[in-house]
Structures are given as structure tokens and as C-alpha cells.
Amino acid sequence: MADKQETDAVTGTVTTGHVWDDIRELNTPLPRWWLWLFYATIVWSIGYWIVYPSWPLVSSYTTGAFNWSSREAVVTDLDALKAQRAPMVSRLATASLQQIVADPQLLEFARAQARPAFGENCAPCHGAGGGGAKGYPNLNDNDWIWGGKLDDIADTIRHGVRSGDSKSRLGPPMPDFGRDGRLKRAEIETVADYVRSAAGLATDPKADLAAGKAIFMQNCTVCHGENGKGNRDLGVPDLTDAIWVYGSDKATIVEGIWNGRAGMMPAWAGRLDETTIKALAVFVHTLGGGEK
């Protein structure tokens, strides 16, 4: 560092006094206006400390002059949204399911309310559009294990299927005929052929359908009925229609008879409020398969 001020001969500018390898650095300070803006921003930032939460303390933080917090801002926004929707929500809460479906405005609101609730709660099993998956019924079709009327659907959502809820849909599970030794492997294959033929599906021409029917009459009619139409009160599926929750190929049917089936669905009454459940029932009903 040089002690006295040095002036660069070529430019006439004062140097900073720093010299590296004989190269001197010119002292060209920032423009004054720039510097003042910089100071102004520092002053401005102090304003932020005062107005907004800023400094961390040992067990808390400075809350700012107006106690503003981003969390409360979100809560305020959500409250405002709820207040905006309140008139429609209260109409939804008081209307019966039939009234909701009959009122186009209420129906549109219910479906809009239900769509995100369906995505959050139902889609993991039933699919984003309610298309179902193996073991999880398609909600768009018109085959219902536990009933497809508005109130049936709402009850199933509220209390679930084999959910442990006191009002849960409860029916005898499909027994495991193979594993507990009630039927032999060959007998199960034979009855599977019969079930497929009764549903109008193609079967092996060598299949002994008469033997299959005999086995069916002996073992299956208690629940599925002599005509195989099932029983909604007990949640027993119709074996004669085109809809198969697990699949209609012979291997899947054999697997079902061998191991048994007992699909379940959780009860939503405690987790979702009644208005949401009603909206969901209307939504599922209007997916396309709802019954009158």
C-alpha cells in the first residue's frame, strides 16, 4: 500500500495504491446515485425487519409489527373461499341426494366438490376416473355388488365393506373351496368351465358342463343362486353378466374358487364429512351407472 495518493499519468485518475506486478488499479468509485440507492435499500430492509417476522430468537422469532404470518394468510384465504362457497355448501348439506340430482345447479356444484375428494380418497383403488382395477370395481359401469341407487352408494361410502364399522356392508366371503379341501383341483376346473359357459363365454368343447353344473348346484347356489345372478343384500356378485371384478379368464376364476375372495373397502364416515360423502355419492352415481 502506498502512503501518498498516486495519480495515473495516462488517465489522470487517482489509483487505489494497490500494485501487482507493476500494474496499478485505478480508483473509479461507484456513481453516487448508485451508492445512495444501495444505502436506501439497506434502510428499506430495516423496514422489513420491523413490519414482517424476521429474526430468529432462541425459542421463537420476532413477529413483526402486524403479527403477519404466511400460515395465517393461507388460513384467511381458505376461510374467504369457504365463506364464498358457504351458501352452496349449506344447500348441499340440507338437500337429499335425490334433490341434489334433480337441481342442475346443485348437481354441478356437488360434482365439482366431489372431484378433488374422489382424487384424494377414492382414486388410489378405483382409479382417477373411477375405472377400477382388478379387485376394485369399475364405478362407471352399471353392475353394483352392493347396489347402485344413490342411497346404496352413499351407505357403502359411509360404512365401507367388511371395514369393521358397526354398520359395514357385511356378507359371507367367498370360501376357499380348494385350500380347505372341499373341492378337488379338477372339480374346480370343471365348475369354472360351467361358470364361464353360463356367462356366455367361450369354453373348451371337451369341458364337462353337466358335471360342472352339478358341482355348482351343490356348492355355489347358496350364495350365487341357482341362476347365478348373485345377491346384492349379501354383496354376492352376478356371475352371468359381462362384468368381472377380478377377471373372466378361467385361471382367474379357478384362483378365486381355490383361494376364496373377500374384497373390502374402508368406512369413510369418520374421515370425510357428511357433505363430502353426499357429493361423492352423487359423483359416483352420475359417472354413468347409477340406478334409479
Partner: protein, 517 residues
């Protein structure tokens, strides 16, 4: 503003008749015409400041033809702007009755008998094309007459300058006052001027927001502080911009901010009528007495008496005698100022006039001057305007008042029903652009055996469904199309959804596909 020897400098060089506006031109030679002068521009010097301080302009009051035209245009344009929101237009009970309304909340734009939905904003494209080409046409005919008469910056600046002359006095008086110390009277005058400016600016912002809501209601709400905050905010913003742009920035906007002078200079040609100093008549300049004496001696004497009235009248501080100029907005006020002087000294009018350099040269060589408005470029511009206007008129006349759009369900793509029937789900939007409820008959074509249902609406044996759509509304319905028809594997069959308004017979269609396993 750094000189770089490009074309723009030539215009600055022509500015030299009135030194000071552009400091960098003081060394440039005065040329009789404002054409190429690049060779005379000195090399850039490091000592030249990069920024020329603004010289305040005190435009002098003038009377004459072009001033009158400017007043009429000002009354008309500002009258339309300030009063149009209050014009009523009866559209019946289901739509607002304001003639011009931008209804942002409901996504509608109303313009007298025209109503535009958000998806019809492309209509604005046509308007913008017409506006741009009309600007080019004006330029081809008479240079920057847009700038001189119609540009909002000019119109409001003109109004603000009129207020300034009224409160602070005309040019001479105002300049004199500004040199004197502040007195209570001067403070009062200046304060009153700024008050009037702010009132005009405030009303300008106020008129703007009236285009976005029912004007009489909003005026009432604004007065009783019931109006939404955003209305006050916009009035505040536009009050500030009007006050700053028309009161304080004025010609600086034209000189430094506006892109049009640059584009215009590239688009213009030698036949465009520009405000032109007829130097063939004006030079050599001399005083009234001296030129009189020269004429008696039979020596050449110009009509220009170097009175500077043209410069004093100019709202952008240009000396037109230096030739065409980037700062000149072609308003013609210098023509009026010069004509007044010519009348006084008994010389012919229009020493400065809308003319071309070609004509000056022709007069100098004894030929007849001519004005050619009909040229290839003006014909082309008119043709483009006519075509775009015709297309817009056609689309407006044939605007569909109903429309349908279809979205296929993404999940599941198809549904097998209990009895083996195959079904696809669609979300259908039906638009009714008329101002009364219409009962559209929805049908679908493409499958020989088809069952059509709409959630929540009773159908007609699965063939058609009547969907009522409210006035000026869109209705979303869930549509289920089913068939027992045997489809090929991975079927994808074209479907046409059709809506028919039985009252008018008007139809609209949308296509989608029926998918199978």
C-alpha cells in the same frame, strides 16, 4: 443520442437552425433540404456529452386552418373517450345495456351490436392489422399526420399546453414569468395550472375504468367510496401517467420513447406530403425592409423574414426550415404561424406547406409541381385494409351463435356394461351466444346402433336429448354414448356430435371418437 454516423444523425444535422435541442449538431452544416448530410457530420468526439439536457419548449398560440383541424380532432377524440362509457345500448334483460363494455368478470366484450367471447379475441387481430396498415397509409399520404393530429400523446399534450397558455400566459409571458422570482401570484398561476392538469389527468383515468363496469353505477360507487380498490388504483396510475406524459414529458415521448418515428422514417417515400419549408421561395432570408430593398434592385430576395414564428409555434421545438426532421410530428402549426406572418407582410401564403422535396426541385427548374396520392403503395394499403375489413365483416356476419366441443373421458376410455354393452363417456360443452335460453337437441352420428344419454337430463329413447342452455352461457354436460354393435378389436370409430336449435334450425357439430377394447 450518441452520434455514430448513421442515418439518424442526418436528421439531427438538419436541426441546426435552432441550436440547443441537440447539442451534438452544432457543428453540422445547415442544409437547405434535410436529405443526406452524413458526410458533413464531424467524427464523434469523446468530449461530447452522452445526454443533452432538455430545453423547455413554450409553444406559441397560433390561429389558422391546421389549428382549427387540430381543435376539431381534439374535441371529437376526447369527447368520444370521455363520454362513450355513458352511451346506452339496449340488449334486453340478459345483458348489460352499456354500448361499449369490457366485462372482465364474465369474459365478454360488448361493442354496440357486437358481442365477443374470450375465444373470439382473434377478432382483435383484424382490428390491429387494420390499425397498423391505416397508419402506413396515413404515412404514405401525408407523413406523420397520425402523430400530429390523432396520437393520444399529441391530443392530451395539446390540451395540457392550452391549459398552460391559459394559466401561465402565452410563450412570451410565460418565459418572462419564469425568469422572475416566485411571487404569490406566480405560485397561484402555476398551482392552478397543475391543479387543472391533475383534474384532466384524473378524469382521464376515471373515464378509463368506466369502460370496465356499468358507468353510471361505477361513478356513484366511486363517489361514495364503494368502488373496488382496483378501480381507484387504475385511476391513480392513469392520473399519474397522463399528468407525467402530457404535462411534463411531452415532446420527449415523441423524440426518445416512441418507436413510430424510427419505423416511419424507414417506410416513407419521396411522394409523401410532409410539412415542408419551400426554400425555393424562402431563401435567401432577409428582414422585411432589406428584402423589399433587394427586390426593388432586382436582386433575389426570399420570403422568409427569419421571424422564428414557425419555431415558436412548434410543440416539439423543431425548426422546419432545416428540412425534414425526426422531431417533426407534421401537425402544421408552423404553417399557420407562417401564414399569419405572410399575410401581414403581404406575401403569398404557404411558404411552409404540406409538400414534397420533389416539388421544390421541380419549381426550381421551372416545372409544374404535382401531388400523387394514388401510388402503388397507397393502393396496396387500401387494398389490404379493404380485404381485412371484408374478412372481419364476413366473420362477424356469419358468427356462430351456438357451438359445441367434446372431450373424451381419459379414464376409463371405455366401459363394459353388465349386459355386454360398450359405453364411452364424454364431457360436452354447449355454447349459447344468444341472449335468450335455447333448447338444443343433442344427437350423435357414427354408430349404427347407438344409445345417447346425458347425466341429469331425461332423454328421448336414447336417440336425442334436449339440453337447455341459458342466455349467453356455456353448459357442461356429461354425455354417455353406448352401443351393442360388434366392434373390431381396438376400435376407434369417428363420432359426430350435433346440436340443433329447433327454433331456428341452426346447427353446430364436433367430432370425437368411440373407442373399444
Amino acid at each position: 443520442m450518441r452520434p455514430s454516423g448513421d442515418g439518424a444523425v442526418a436528421f439531427h444535422a438538419a436541426q441546426a437552425g435552432e441550436p440547443g435541442l441537440f447539442k451534438l449538431v452544432k457543428d453540422a452544416q445547415v442544409l437547405p433540404s434535410g436529405t443526406s448530410a452524413t458526410s458533413n457530420v464531424p467524427e464523434p468526439d469523446d468530449d461530447i456529452p452522452l445526454y443533452a439536457a432538455r430545453r423547455h419548449i413554450y409553444p406559441q398560440r397560433v390561429h389558422g386552418t391546421y389549428r382549427r383541424i387540430k381543435w376539431i380532432v381534439l374535441y371529437l377524440t376526447l369527447g368520444i373517450y370521455y363520454l362513450l362509457p355513458f352511451v346506452r345500448w339496449d340488449r334486453g334483460p340478459n345483458a348489460p345495456s352499456q354500448a361499449v363494455l369490457v366485462d372482465l368478470a364474465n369474459g365478454r366484450f360488448y361493442f354496440f351490436f357486437i358481442e365477443i367471447w374470450p375465444q373470439e379475441v382473434y377478432y382483435l387481430t383484424g382490428l390491429l392489422i387494420i390499425a397498423a396498415v391505416a397508419l402506413f397509409l396515413m404515412n404514405a399520404v401525408a407523413g406523420r399526420i397520425w402523430c400530429g393530429y390523432l396520437c393520444p400523446q399529441t391530443v392530451w399534450t395539446d390540451l395540457f399546453q392550452a391549459i398552460e397558455r391559459w394559466t401561465e400566459g402565452d410563450r412570451r409571458e410565460h418565459m418572462l414569468r419564469e425568469r422572475q422570482p416566485w411571487t404569490l401570484a406566480r405560485l397561484g398561476r402555476t398551482g392552478f395550472k397543475h391543479f387543472l392538469w391533475l383534474m384532466v389527468a384524473w378524469w382521464t383515468g376515471g373515464a378509463w375504468v368506466l369502460y370496465f363496469a356499468d358507468a353510471p353505477t361505477l361513478v356513484k360507487d366511486l363517489a361514495t367510496f364503494q368502488a373496488p380498490f382496483v378501480a381507484y388504483a387504475w385511476i391513480g396510475i392513469l392520473t399519474f401517467t397522463t399528468y407525467a406524459l402530457a404535462g411534463h414529458m411531452r415532446e420527449q415521448v415523441c423524440l426518445y420513447m416512441c418507436p413510430w418515428p424510427r419505423i416511419q422514417a424507414a417506410l416513407t417515400d419521396e411522394h409523401a406530403l410532409n410539412v415542408t419549408y419551400r426554400y425555393d421561395r424562402g431563401e435567401p432570408r432577409a428582414s422585411v425592409k432589406k428584402s423589399e430593398a433587394l427586390r426593388q434592385q432586382g436582386q433575389p430576395a426570399g420570403d422568409c423574414v427569419d421571424c422564428y414564428q414557425c419555431v415558436h409555434a412548434c410543440p416539439t421545438g423543431v425548426d422546419i426550415r432545416g428540412g425534414s426532421n425526426l422531431g417533426c410530428i407534421q401537425c402544421g402549426l408552423c404553417i399557420d404561424a407562417c401564414d399569419a406572418v405572410m399575410a401581414k407582410i403581404g406575401r403569398p401564403q404557404r411558404l411552409i406547406a404540406y409538400d414534397t422535396d420533389i416539388n421544390i426541385k421541380r419549381r426550381q427548374s421551372g416545372e409544374q409541381p404535382f401531388v400523387r396520392i394514388v401510388r402503388a403503395r397507397t393502393v396496396l394499403y387500401v387494398a389490404i385494409i379493404a380485404i381485412v375489413a371484408a374478412v372481419m365483416l364476413y366473420t362477424l356476419a356469419t358468427r356462430r351463435t351456438e357451438s359445441i366441443s367434446v372431450i373424451h373421458d381419459r379414464n376409463p376410455i371405455f366401459v363394459r356394461l353388465a349386459d355386454g354393452e360398450l359405453r364411452n363417456g364424454f364431457t360436452v360443452h354447449i355454447l349459447n351466444k344468444l341472449l335468450q335460453t335455447r333448447d338444443f337437441v343433442l344427437s350423435v352420428e357414427g354408430l349404427s346402433d347407438v344409445d345417447l344419454r346425458v347425466s341429469g337430463i331425461e332423454g328421448n329413447n336414447g336417440r336425442t336429448v334436449v339440453v337447455p342452455v341459458g342466455p349467453d352461457q356455456t353448459r357442461e354436460v356429461r354425455v354417455l354414448v353406448s352401443t351393442y354393435q360388434t366392434l373390431p378389436p381396438a376400435a376407434s370409430i369417428a363420432l359426430t356430435f350435433r346440436i340443433t336449435d329447433p327454433a331456428t334450425g341452426r346447427q353446430a357439430t364436433a367430432v370425437d371418437r368411440f373407442r373399444g377394447p
